[in-house]
């Protein structure tokens, strides 16, 4: 009699506990699960060159059911500014950070501090000069290969004869690992071709440097290693301010495409920025879903576009992502 009473009380309490658990689960389910929030910090984020990247982020956020916020930034950032922004985002409840590292020695240190709080995914460039030493995962196109492809296109256009030709190389910065890789790839492609680098210019978009390209000595080819440089070079070329130099470059904005379309640029290597955005967020999302997972590097594609291939079906899609 006593035993059965015990069993009865036990059964009722187990059922009662189950009811309570179920009620809690139901209530929690009704409140909706909190979406993971990821903040994106890139330089000059409102610029057109990030259109495809942002579109990629947006699509990934939809697919992964996450929330993203791209921090509005203008111009170049210092390390301190970037750290402050990252901290501010973490304080605002960001569960992960996607970040374009500021070139510099101390970036890695700063990132380590942030990483203690939330997972960090780099985009466009590694933080460390030596890619192997970088302890942070990065999503970027193969910069070296892009530089090399650009060189190969130039070589092809000149019938493999570049002897005595002079080049002007412009890049937003020569500090960033990405720019260095691109330059290295480009130089590798033109190794032993007898070309001469007339000048190398940095930071064309910065104030006070608007005339710089005009004042530089005449070269046969202007090689722009990033989108900002390419649009600057395209602008000069369109205005016939480049002393007839032909522009080759790496770019990912509709402006860049426009200069290609109008003949101000000869050849364009377009990194797949959509996938930089998409895959970086996907990687962060997977990390947030499985805490013990280690984030991995992701490498995205690039496309070589010329004026006559600008409107092929595939390239139209690239333009589509840039136009979002």
């Amino acid at each position: 009699m006593k035993n059965s009473k015990k069993v009865f009380i036990l059964t009722e309490s187990v059922l009662g506990i189950l009811v309570i658990i179920l009620a809690v689960v139901m209530l929690m389910g009704r409140n909706g699960k909190e979406l993971h929030k990821v903040s994106v910090i890139v330089e000059n984020s409102d610029d057109n060159q990030w259109a495809a990247f942002r579109y990629g982020l947006r699509m990934a956020a939809e697919d992964q059911e996450m929330e993203i916020s791209v921090v509005s930034t203008e111009g170049t950032m210092t390390l301190e500014e970037q750290q402050a922004l990252a901290q501010q985002e973490i304080d605002n409840g960001a569960d992960g950070i996607i970040l374009q590292p500021v070139p510099g020695e101390d970036t890695e240190e700063m990132l380590k501090k942030i990483e203690k709080k939330v997972p960090v995914m780099l985009v466009e460039s590694t933080a460390s000069r030596e890619a192997q030493n970088s302890s942070f995962p990065v999503t970027q196109p193969d910069n070296y290969a892009m530089g090399k492809a650009l060189g190969a296109e130039l070589l092809k256009d000149c019938g493999d004869n570049l002897k005595g030709k002079t080049l002007g190389i412009i890049s937003e910065t020569m500090e960033a690992q990405a720019s260095l890789d691109r330059a290295a790839g480009f130089k590798e492609a033109l190794k032993d071709q007898g070309t001469k680098v007339g000048w190398t210019a940095e930071g064309t978009s910065e104030e006070g440097s608007t005339d710089s390209l005009v004042n530089l000595p005449k070269v046969d080819f202007v090689i722009a290693l990033d989108d900002t440089s390419l649009t600057a070079a395209g602008e000069y070329s369109a205005a016939n301010d480049l002393h007839g130099a032909i522009v080759y470059g790496i770019g990912n904005s509709t402006e860049a495409a426009y200069y290609l379309d109008t003949g101000a640029a000869q050849c364009l290597v377009v990194p797949d920025e959509f996938n930089v955005g998409y895959q970086s967020l996907q990687e962060v999302s997977e990390k947030l879903g499985h805490s013990f997972r280690k984030m991995e590097d992701r490498e995205t594609d690039y496309t070589v576009i010329r004026r006559d291939t600008l409107f092929t079906k595939e390239n139209q899609e690239i333009l589509f992502t840039m136009s979002q």
Binding site: M1, S4, F8, T11, E12, L15, G16, L18, V19, L22, A23, V25, M26, G29, R30, Y55, G56, M59, E62, D63, E65, T254, E255, A257, Y258, D261, T262, G263, D272, F274, N275, Y278, F311, E314, Q316, E317, L319, F320, T321, M322, S323
Partner: protein, 625 residues
Amino acid sequence: MEKVKNRFFEYLNKLKPRGIQSILMISFSVLSVAVMLTLGVVLYIRFSNVSRDEIVETTRKLMEQTGENLEDYLVSMRQISDAVYYNVVKESDFSAEQNEIQEGMNLLYEANRDNLRSIAIYNDYGSLMAAEPVASQKEDPNVTRQSWYQQAMEEVENMHFSTPHIQNLFDDGTKGYYWVISLSRMVEITDGGDSRAGVLLVDMDYSSISRMMDQINTENSGQYFYLCDSNGEIIYHPRQIQISDGIFDENNQTAAGYKEGVYDEVFNGEHRKVLVNSISYTGWKLVGVIPYSTFTHGMVNIRYFIMMLILLMAMMLAFVNRLVSVWISSPILKLNDSVKDYEAGEKPRIYIGGSQEIRHLGYSIQSSYEQIDDLMKKIVLEQNERRKSELDALQSQINPHFLYNTLESITWMVEGERNDEAAFMISQLAKLFRISLSKGRTVITIKDELQHAQSYMNIQKVRYKNSFAVVFDVDEEIYSYCTVKLVLQPILENAISYGVSAMDEGGEIRITGRREEGTVILAVTDNGIGMSEEEVRFILTDSTRVPKHGSGVGLVNVNNRVQLLFGKEYGLKVESEPDEGTVVSIVIPAVPYTEENRKILEKGYLFGKNVIKKIEDAGKENEKQ
């Protein structure tokens, strides 16, 4: 493995219910759990079917609505195209009325600029004749190689809707590119009085369509809509770029082959419902995709609800089950407990309560226990009585009064020198005592009993100076049967005291013995004063009634002793008539005297009844023969 299995079964065996309440509780619980689970599953299936149908129906309606909106939009584009052609271009000459044409186009463009990117007319060489909004044409847009131009030129009667593409015609200075859907048709244009073919292009802003589609693609549940043309080329898809990048797959080629309706398909291992809606004039298909996971997603709450319902019902049923099982089992348990207490030696009342059957059970158990108690008491009583009777018998063997009288008689005889008589008396007395003692046996032969009676009567006759006659009339065949010892003597004593002693002469006591149907009947008949009916009735029940100067052993005692050994159907029978005399018969079974039978009979009726029964049966058999 085997060990684990054995342990499991051992555990199961241990779990076997032992009490009626557990059995009831478990059976009720199993039954109710089964019923609830079945109910839950059936409810869930029913709910999920209803909800699935509802989702499909809602989606179908939504798609119909969107399809109509799209159709409206496309119709308005066609109307613009018609208006440009019939109202503006057809009536005018491009050379002469360029301004009017431009104005007319401008009016139409301005009225629809939200949805339009541009309106343009090209001639059969691909040269731009007029465009709105006015913008510089690109250097070499290669119009004749663009698909919208080619389609219009190939099928001149139709209007053609292209798939979305980048507009590659004008340079408006924004350095941007527009994603458009081209509506092209061949038109006849008049230029300088000559009629020639041309192509009228209305470039619709893709964002108008994508906006419409985005509006319905807001749900987060996995369900989505896309738009493709009749060849399966995607016009709009929420994951357009992912598809071209190979991140996502769509079954658009198959969907293009579907007619309007609802289809079930398995794509990339995912079961899904596909709703297809055709957009008229264009051959486009609006496709809604509902993965089955969406249905489940919507059912999660219902699932929780049903689980909650089942749990609450389980709680309630457990409670009710317990109440019912306690209600049913408690009287049985109480009954069982009281029986156990009884068995343990206590003597509580047997529980009587609960349902009618259990009450009956209680009553019958109680009455059987009471009967057992009565029987036990009776047995104890009988044992006591038997002991008492035997003691009485023992006492009667050496009744001092009788002995005193007899010895006095002998003394007188010796004093009167009647030595022969004295010797006779002494020898009779000796015989009497020898049989009285009989080595302590209770059962003796009838012969010995008769001998005892004879000795007794001989002594009494001397004492009463032969005032009555004694006749022995006994069949010799019964001599060797068993009888209880000293049963005749008290009867004879009785016959003398109450029957013949008072008579002056002519008194006679007759002792008869014969066998009759397996029984032996010894009878003592006197012709004395007899008894009234009332006296006869008392003589076998009133144990106080004993002869005043006799052995002190009443007929009751004799009767008891006979019955103790042979059973209730045997014993004494008394018949008497006042002034006529009395007959007292001893009826006993005809058991042959052997050592074995004697021992069995001496243990009492309970042990001897088998022997007696056998004899009775044999007696009956003999009778029949």
